[in-house]
């Protein structure tokens, strides 16, 4: 394949795979899976873009939480939370969703696009109905995170190689399996975040159970959920007078 220089490259009339960068690593999300709708550099005209009323309200409510231009703020501040709303509504940051958000926020779709492609949790390609993020960072790796990710891939048929590099969909396209950096729950190692809830410590066999539960729509491993866990250690509070005799909160 001959490399196409970026200046000759118009994503609208070529297959995403045609694009070969001149030697730089390219974020897959930027080159595959999607093409912008309309002109990405024009702020969408509210007269032309149809935005569902409830979505418009939701977005406006978020924009209102940030300081406005009179307070040196900017509606752009709402970009990440608004993209969350789009993703929750459409399953991922769809080009149509981005145009709708851009229209309400009065920013360019290209701007929101650039933000969405920066953050790991905002998906710029379809991500299935369920998301399983398996931590493979230091503490989880020590305690079997790689093997846990193997098990999820075996069970769902997701491609292991791709799962380790940004995520892969299960064979039926319903579950996204992705290796992930430290999720801030190393005490649960090895752990996974399933539809944004944390579970651990997991055995390899739990992968099968979790996938079955997701497919049947039942509650996922309630006994291993983080929110059901107590404080670690359980060491008795000290009888230290500085603590018990203090003023202020926690007394």
């Amino acid at each position: 394949m001959t490399p196409v220089m970026p200046s000759d490259f118009d994503p609208r009339n070529s297959e995403p795979e045609d694009f070969v960068s001149p030697g730089l690593p390219v974020d897959q999300a930027n080159t595959t899976g999607r093409l912008p709708v309309g002109d990405p550099e024009q702020i969408p005209d509210p007269a032309e873009v149809e935005v569902p009323a409830d979505l418009r309200e939701q977005i406006q409510a978020i924009v209102d939480k940030y300081p406005d231009r009179n307070h040196k703020g900017s509606p752009k501040s709402a970009a990440i939370p608004v993209l969350w709303i789009i993703q929750r509504r459409y399953g991922w940051c769809t080009p149509e969703g981005i145009v709708q958000a851009a229209c309400v926020m009065q920013v360019t779709p290209a701007y929101l696009e650039s933000v969405a492609s920066f953050y790991d949790l905002l998906r710029t390609s379809p991500q299935g109905e369920h998301q399983v993020l398996v931590c493979t960072n230091i503490a989880c790796w020590m305690r079997g995170g790689d093997e846990l990710l193997d098990s999820f891939c075996e069970k769902t048929g997701a491609d292991r190689e791709a799962a380790g590099h940004g995520g892969a969909l299960s064979e039926d396209g319903k579950i996204l399996v992705s290796g992930f950096e430290c999720l801030g729950a190393c005490d649960l190692a090895p752990m996974a975040s399933v539809d944004e809830r944390y579970f651990g410590p997991l055995e390899n066999a739990d992968a099968g159970t979790i996938v079955d539960q997701l497919e049947s729509g039942s509650e996922v491993l309630p006994e291993k959920a983080l929110d059901k866990r107590g404080l670690a250690g359980g060491v008795a509070d000290s009888t230290d007078e500085r603590v018990t005799g203090g003023k202020g909160p926690n007394q």
Binding site: P67, R143, G184, R229, G248, N250
Partner: protein, 494 residues
């Protein structure tokens, strides 16, 4: 050895009521705020915070009171950003603090804002902490309803807005200036400093940025005074600290202790020490960005100054323990891979340095490197340190170079063993004498013999091969054995 926790911030945290306004108030919550708004001068609070010696709990350990005092006394809009991005591998204390006691943080933020005349506060929470963000959202709503937030708080005339802002998965947003960009709705790229955020931060206004744990301490200090606070901990590291201990220990979890307790008390006493039959070989004392220490340093006090003296740092206060089943070169590779992934790419030493360090470590772990490459790895780290816009580059360079320096034997051994394996798997069974690697270099001292394990499929992030170690058993075999029979303690239970 019986060490107990000194729970100030996590006191009564096991009570689920604590996460609600009514529960928090039943334990004396918001009393200090009421008192402060009525009878205390903002200057007194700033002074007390400075006097207390409270050091930032997010990584740098800078005096919180000083930071507040740097904010200019002008009329322009000022901001407070609570850093709840907590994405450093090994750190999970802020998660616990927000989940169990969100109002302690909110009260601390209101008092800090009152002291510094701030009009809008934000909590920047990492997007993965969905449950915790929901808890904060609810707590903030409750605080608005109770009149602790909003206009004219408790009739004092002081007004404060508080917004919970969810990130979307990028470690770099924990860096304070990248956090500001993310809050302004941009890609999270660090800014050049100076100007420091205290002068020119969010929307160009003076901005105070502090970690969740730092801010959670504020109401306690204002209620009890600086001297009370200083009665905990050491002279240069006053107070208590919530320490996250994880990795190869029996009871991983968060433990709140006075700063200055010994590492042994933390790792053995509280976290239960290594798993049965294992030995600790190394540990990160302050999250994955800190240079590793060895068991020889186990009796040092856990304080900012002692960790710095030992050539490492206390950082966010997260200890990750490795035992003899963990291959140090592969741990270095994991570390480098993380920083390569999270580098924002803005400066060359960091973008290229993290990338090449990962590649070189990969060569080490697949036996393609030579011992000379270890010197190159070290020199690359030296060229990263101090040459980047933010300290993410240094955050990789420090632990990686500490591992190469302290565990050089282990790196050389891995190279030799992997080379031998690659050789024998190529069908070229090693004959007597030194074994050459595929590139024709010779690596002396390689045990010859039949391969000890199956090779992993190529192209995985990390080739977790299986090499014989000193006693004939490789760390990787040990790790797998341990995992096979793994019994992981529940670490608490409900």
């Amino acid at each position: 050895m019986s060490i107990v926790e000194t729970r100030v911030l996590l006191r009564h945290a096991e009570d689920p009521k604590m996460a609600t306004l009514a529960g928090y108030e039943s334990y004396g919550g918001y009393e200090v705020l009421k008192k402060a708004l009525k009878e205390i001068e903002p200057e007194w609070i700033v002074n007390e915070l400075e006097e207390s010696g409270l050091r930032g709990r997010g990584g740098a350990g800078f005096s919180m009171g000083k930071k507040v005092s740097f904010l200019p006394h002008t009329d322009e809009a000022k901001y407070l950003c609570c850093n709840a991005d907590e994405s450093e591998p090994g750190a999970f204390k802020d998660r616990e603090l927000m989940q169990r006691n969100p109002h302690q943080l909110i009260e601390g933020m209101i008092i800090s804002s009152f002291a510094a005349d701030i009009e809008h506060a934000f909590i920047f929470i990492r997007g993965e902490y969905d449950d915790q963000a929901d808890i904060l959202d609810r707590a903030v709503d409750e605080a608005y309803e109770a009149g602790y937030l909003g206009k004219n708080i408790l009739g004092s005339g002081f007004a404060l807005e508080l917004t919970v802002h969810r990130g979307a998965g990028a470690y770099i947003c924990g860096e304070e200036t990248a956090l500001l960009d993310a809050l302004e709705g941009k890609r999270g790229n660090p800014r050049l400093k100076p100007p420091f955020p205290a002068v020119q931060g969010l929307y160009g206004g003076p901005t105070l940025i502090n970690n969740v744990e730092t801010l959670s301490n504020v109401s306690h200090i204002v209620a009890n005074g600086a001297d009370w606070f200083k009665s905990f901990g050491t002279e240069q590291s006053p107070g208590t600290k919530v320490v996250s201990v994880s990795g190869c220990v029996k009871r991983p979890g968060n433990y709140e202790v006075e700063l200055g307790v010994s590492l042994r008390d933390l790792i053995y006493g509280l976290a239960g020490g290594p798993l049965d039959g294992r030995e600790i070989t190394a540990f990160y004392p302050g999250g994955s960005s800190s240079p590793v220490l060895t068991p020889a340093e186990m009796d040092l006090p856990y304080s900012f100054e002692a960790m710095a003296e030992a050539g490492s740092m206390l950082g966010s206060g997260s200890i990750i323990v490795a035992d003899d089943s963990v291959s140090i070169p592969r741990m270095a590779l994991r570390t480098a891979k993380f920083y390569r992934h999270e580098s924002c790419g803005k400066c060359t030493p960091c973008r290229e340095g993290t990338n090449w360090t990962e590649k070189m470590l990969q060569r080490v772990c697949s036996g393609e490197a030579t011992p000379m490459d270890l010197d190159i790895i070290s020199s690359v780290q030296d060229n990263i340190m101090g040459h980047c816009l933010c300290v993410l580059g240094d955050a990789m360079a420090m632990p990686v170079s500490s591992m190469v320096n302290k565990f050089r034997d282990s790196f050389e051994q891995t190279i030799a063993e992997e080379a031998a394996k690659a050789w024998s798997f190529g069908g070229l069974e090693a004959a007597d004498g030194p074994v050459g690697d595929p590139a024709g270099r010779t690596s002396p001292g390689v045990p010859s013999g039949p391969p000890t394990g199956p090779s992993k499929s190529p192209g995985r992030d990390v080739q977790d091969g299986d090499e014989p170690g000193p006693g004939g058993v490789s760390p990787e075999t040990l790790r797998r054995e341990r995992l096979a029979g793994r019994s992981i303690p529940s670490g608490g239970g409900s």
